[in-house]
């Protein structure tokens, strides 16, 4: 950058590590397929909902998509319900959760706060919330759309014996209580 002394290499190692992390994330992002029957933009609409924090607007977009492409939307939500985020996304989440754990632990130590749970427990719990939240939103999305195909998927999922409790609860609620009466 002309005119300003560039900062030398004190943070070069960190930058390199971040660079590799970024490259890895790009590769992961590119490797994630477009969902069957949906365009890339429509795939993002579904994934934006499955990964949402503020879900009201993403849910509206999802329901609008389902009006146009009901089966493809429902199929992709069912895939999210049954399988959760892909293994690469979960591995990347693990990595970032460990980075966050170290940062938060240092912050707590510097501010004389009690330590966090052991790293393995902390990461496992956070990973479960990430994965199960994604799966639960798959169920809730099916419940809001509530076509016969969507309900059939929820009926099928309700029979599964290996669903985590929060996902099972989401399946039953989505099938029996969504959409709520106006």
């Amino acid at each position: 950058m002309p005119g300003i002394d560039a900062r030398p290499t004190r943070v070069a190692t960190v930058n390199r590590a971040r660079g590799w992390l970024f490259v890895a994330l790009v590769v992961i992002a590119c490797a994630r397929d477009v969902l069957a029957g949906l365009t890339p933009a429509e795939t993002i609409t579904v994934r934006r909902y499955l990964d949402c924090i503020d879900c009201v607007i993403p849910l509206d977009s999802l329901r609008a998509l389902a009006v146009r492409k009901s089966d493809a939307t429902v199929d992709s939500l069912n895939s999210g319900l049954l399988h959760g985020p892909d293994s690469q996304a979960v591995a990347a989440a693990d990595s970032v959760l460990k980075i966050g754990y170290k940062r938060d632990s240092l912050y707590r130590w510097q501010n004389n706060l009690l330590p966090l749970k052991p790293e393995t427990v902390y990461v496992a719990e956070a990973r479960d919330r990430f994965v199960n939240g994604y799966r639960a939103r798959g169920a809730y999305g099916l419940g809001w759309i509530h076509t016969p195909r969507a309900v059939a998927y929820l009926d099928s999922a309700a029979q599964l014996t290996n669903l985590p409790p929060s996902v099972k609860q989401a399946v039953l609620y989505a099938r029996d209580s969504l959409p709520p009466p106006p």
Binding site: V11, L59, I99, R103, R129, L178
Partner: protein
């Protein structure tokens, strides 16, 4: 002879006066034209947590806008001069420090004194303020028997928000107070934001109001959280504490909305799958937050959309701008603006 001498005296006085006027004018002109290097230091900022400087102004023959540099431990600006055609602003951020900004208002001749002094001295100190403390009124909306469960979720959110806000250099920390509310007193939906904001028993107008409700809208799974900025109440935040999968960065994310991260409005400032933002950006992730762009830090502190800069706010910053409703550059730096190697 006498008359001639008198005339000589008169003309001599006029000549001297004219020369003085010319000299004074020239000194003003030369002062305007003065340029020089400025070494900017950041006293009180440790080497391990260096400051990021954004400089806008004249440098060499061109105007620069929001030109970034990381202190090591100083930043040298080369060939700086003052030109009314170049907007002048110095912004600085650092982990665990408050954000700093100073600008020049060319309609106020005194407002560039600091810059002239810096050009004469060849140096300038920027002392970053302490963190801006955001007052949070946390409302635990549930029955007495549910308090322990609500507090557990609240603490998990706060345990993430504090380090994220500090380490990423946002300039903010939190000052929290909690109270328990019976669910019958509140409709947990942004459609009720106006009603909520008129009831001092369930709302504090001087604070950000964070409502931990069982389920937003009383509908399970509708959303883990929501900020009511679209109802003109960015100071009202809802988090669904009975959502077993409420992820740790949720409170920090909603505070981002309260602090003006709502652009472009078509996406509510969400950066998921947006080019220029990584997957673990404050406004994208529900795993953990490892980044906020420089553009986002700027908007949180200096945007007129940020709650701290609302009319009459005691926390308002000395520089407040109306940021553009795009990802790209405009009145404020582009939200995609990043500085390689920062935050440290």
């Amino acid at each position: 002879m006498k008359k001639s001498a008198k005339h000589r005296g008169f003309f001599g006085t006029r000549l001297i006066t004219s020369l003085l006027v010319v000299a004074f004018a020239a000194s003003c002109i030369f002062a305007e034209a003065t340029s020089g290097d400025i070494v900017v230091a950041f006293p009180g900022t440790p080497i391990a947590d260096p400051a990021l400087l954004l400089y806008s102004g004249k440098e060499g023959n061109s105007c620069v806008e929001y030109e970034g540099a990381i202190a090591d431990p100083t930043v040298t600006l080369h060939n700086v001069s003052i030109d009314a055609g170049c907007e002048v602003e110095f912004d600085a951020f650092a982990p665990a420090r408050g954000a700093y900004a100073v600008g020049v208002d060319f309609s106020n001749p005194a407002s560039d004194d600091f810059l002239e002094a810096a050009m004469v001295a060849g140096s300038m100190d920027i002392a970053l303020p302490s963190l801006t403390s955001l007052p949070l009124q946390i409302w635990l909306v549930g029955l007495t028997s549910q308090v322990t469960a609500m507090e557990e979720v609240r603490d998990r959110m706060l345990n993430k928000a504090f380090p994220v806000l500090s380490v990423l250099g946002t300039g903010f920390t939190l000052d929290t107070a909690s109270a328990v509310l019976n669910p019958s007193l509140l409709t947990p939906h942004c459609n009720s934001a106006d009603v909520i904001s008129m009831n001092p028993a369930i709302y504090d107008a001087s604070k950000l109001n964070v409502y931990f409700v069982a389920h937003y809208g009383n509908i399970q799974g509708l959303t883990p959280a929501n900020n009511c900025w679209m109802k003109a109440h960015p100071e009202i935040l809802f988090l669904s504490w009975q959502n077993a999968n409420l992820t740790d960065p949720t409170l920090a994310h909603e505070l981002g909305h309260a602090l003006g991260l709502i652009h472009p409005k078509s996406l509510g400032g969400h950066t998921y799958a947006i080019s220029g933002f990584d997957a673990y950006n404050l406004m994208a992730t529900n795993t953990d937050v490892t980044s906020a762009t420089v553009g986002q830090l700027y908007a949180m502190n200096f945007s007129s959309d940020s709650w701290i800069n609302r009319s009459g706010s005691p926390l308002a910053k000395p520089v407040v701008r109306t940021c553009q409703d795009t990802w790209g550059a405009g009145e404020c730096p582009a939200l995609t603006l990043v500085q390689l190697g920062w935050p440290p």
